[in-house]
């Protein structure tokens, strides 16, 4: 499902602009950083820290768009833009985000090693 999870044109443009090797390293950095952001989102939610929640969502959105992870980016954006109250009221608001991230990670690894 790589085609819908990662926008191929965006990812190829990134590879072209920065070099294949560098893009690969950058994917590696993202795969290290993104789980931390997801954890921060969960922690902020638990601590009712709306500002930290928004900021973590913002970072995740920003990075997702860099790699063409449009759906993940859109989900993060929704959380950034006043999604805290809604997220805090829902059952497990971050489950969908985490699931999408797993798909993104797999797709990026495939693209990187292709």
């Amino acid at each position: 499902m790589a085609a819908t999870t990662i926008d191929a044109a965006t990812f190829m443009a990134l590879q072209e602009a920065t070099g294949r090797e560098f893009a690969g390293e950058l994917v590696g950095t993202f795969l290290e950083e993104a789980p931390l952001m997801l954890r921060e989102l969960g922690a902020a939610l638990a601590a009712h820290d709306a500002e930290k929640f928004r900021r973590s969502a913002h970072s995740l959105k920003s990075n997702s768009l860099t790699f063409g992870a449009l759906r993940l980016g859109a989900m993060a954006r929704e959380l950034e833009l006043g999604g805290f109250d809604r997220a805090a009221g829902a059952g497990d608001p971050l489950a969908a985000l985490a699931a999408e991230y797993v798909r993104v990670a797999t797709a990026l690894e495939e693209l990187r090693d292709a």
């Binding site: 602009a17 920065t18 950058l26 900021r55 913002h58 970072s59 920003s62 860099t66």
Partner: protein
């Protein structure tokens, strides 16, 4: 002055997000520039105060100190306020972009940053900075730093205006024969030392060196910034110039080189001041009778064997605070009536 446009510049990338930081740095390096990175505003300011950068790419949302706070700090820092800043952010809301621009950011780029756009913006920013640096250097050549800063704050105006001031002309007597008797290296070294001494005497009294032609200097007291006691300031600067030349001569004589003598002419009154030239290349100057008279008095010093000659307006402006001696009315080229001339300081051959 740097002759060529900037090729490789040094940029600072400030972003708390590692992916963004690495990506921006990579793009910039591929453009042939050098990059340093900071992960938040506090670290960025520390680096800016320690090292020299041509441009900063600044994220807004960061822990410890955000981009807005960095911009605020830059505005109030005299040394850093001219540093161009491009804000790179995926911040939502037009009001945030407006706030960045209002805080002095040069430009705003939405993340993810398009590399082609980034290149164009960096190029434009560096070009602007280069022009600004050139302008500063140009100002610095004829103005003290206080004047240069004032002019930069008020902006360049090519409009002329009447000012009240004193003009001081000076040159080295017999410089042409000096040039022939010394090696080219020695001549340039002599001129550089001489200029350094003269600039100090003139600048120290609030004067501004306006023109340097060979060994000759034209200095203005009272423009571009008004100077309450311009007559006395000019005469005191002249006395210090003579004193400095004497000190310089001790060294020259010790080095078995001929002593130098200078002549100084000062005239005071109204004159037209302004920038002449074009917007690309402007120079500040004063013109009018007062300026011509000062130049004539300077050349008259050779004929009458005195170091400093001033006109009546200058003498009246100084009053009895400095002893002067009338050397009577003198016919001056370009003046219908003879001009009363006064000599300052000791009689010197």
């Amino acid at each position: 002055m740097r002759e060529s446009r900037p090729g490789s510049a040094r940029l600072l990338v400030v972003d708390d997000n590692k992916v963004n930081r690495l990506l921006l740095s990579r793009s910039i390096e591929l453009q042939g520039h050098r990059v340093a990175m900071a992960e938040n505003g506090r670290v960025a300011l520390e680096m800016l105060r320690r090292e020299s950068f041509d441009l900063m790419l600044l994220d807004i949302e960061m822990p410890e100190m955000d981009g807005f706070q960095v911009l605020e700090q830059l505005v109030s820092d005299l040394r850093l306020r001219d540093l161009p800043v491009i804000v790179t952010s995926s911040l939502e809301g037009i009001e945030n972009i407006v706030r960045c621009i209002e805080l002095g950011a040069e430009d705003y780029l939405a993340k993810p940053v398009n590399p082609v756009l980034l290149k164009a913006r960096i190029g434009a920013c560096l070009e602007k900075k280069w022009l600004r640096d050139q302008q500063k250097e140009l100002l610095g050549r004829f103005a003290t730093s206080a004047v240069a800063q004032d002019l930069q704050a008020t902006g360049f105006s090519l409009v002329g205006r009447w000012v009240e001031g004193s003009i001081l002309f000076s040159d080295i007597r017999g410089f042409t024969s000096l040039v022939e008797s010394e090696s080219p290296e020695e001549v340039i070294e002599l001129l550089n030392t001489y200029y350094a001494l003269m600039f100090e005497a003139i600048g120290g009294r609030g004067g501004v060196v306006n023109q340097m032609v060979g060994d000759g200097l034209m200095s203005i007291f009272g423009a571009p910034l008004p100077l309450a006691d311009h007559c006395e300031s000019a005469v005191r600067a002249a006395l210090e110039m003579i004193e400095m030349v004497e000190l310089f001569n001790h060294e020259r004589i010790a080095a078995k080189k001929p002593a130098i003598r200078i002549g100084i002419g000062i005239a005071s009154g109204k004159m037209v001041a302004g920038y002449t030239g074009t917007h690309e290349r402007a120079t500040y100057t004063c013109v009018g009778d007062t300026v011509n008279l000062a130049a004539r008095l300077e050349s008259l010093t050779k004929e009458v064997g005195r170091s400093i000659l001033v006109d009546r307006a200058t003498r009246d402006g100084v009053g009895n605070r400095i002893v002067m001696e009338s050397i009577g009315p003198v016919a001056i080229k370009g003046k219908a009536a003879a001009v009363e001339v006064f000599a300052v300081g000791a009689v010197k051959a």
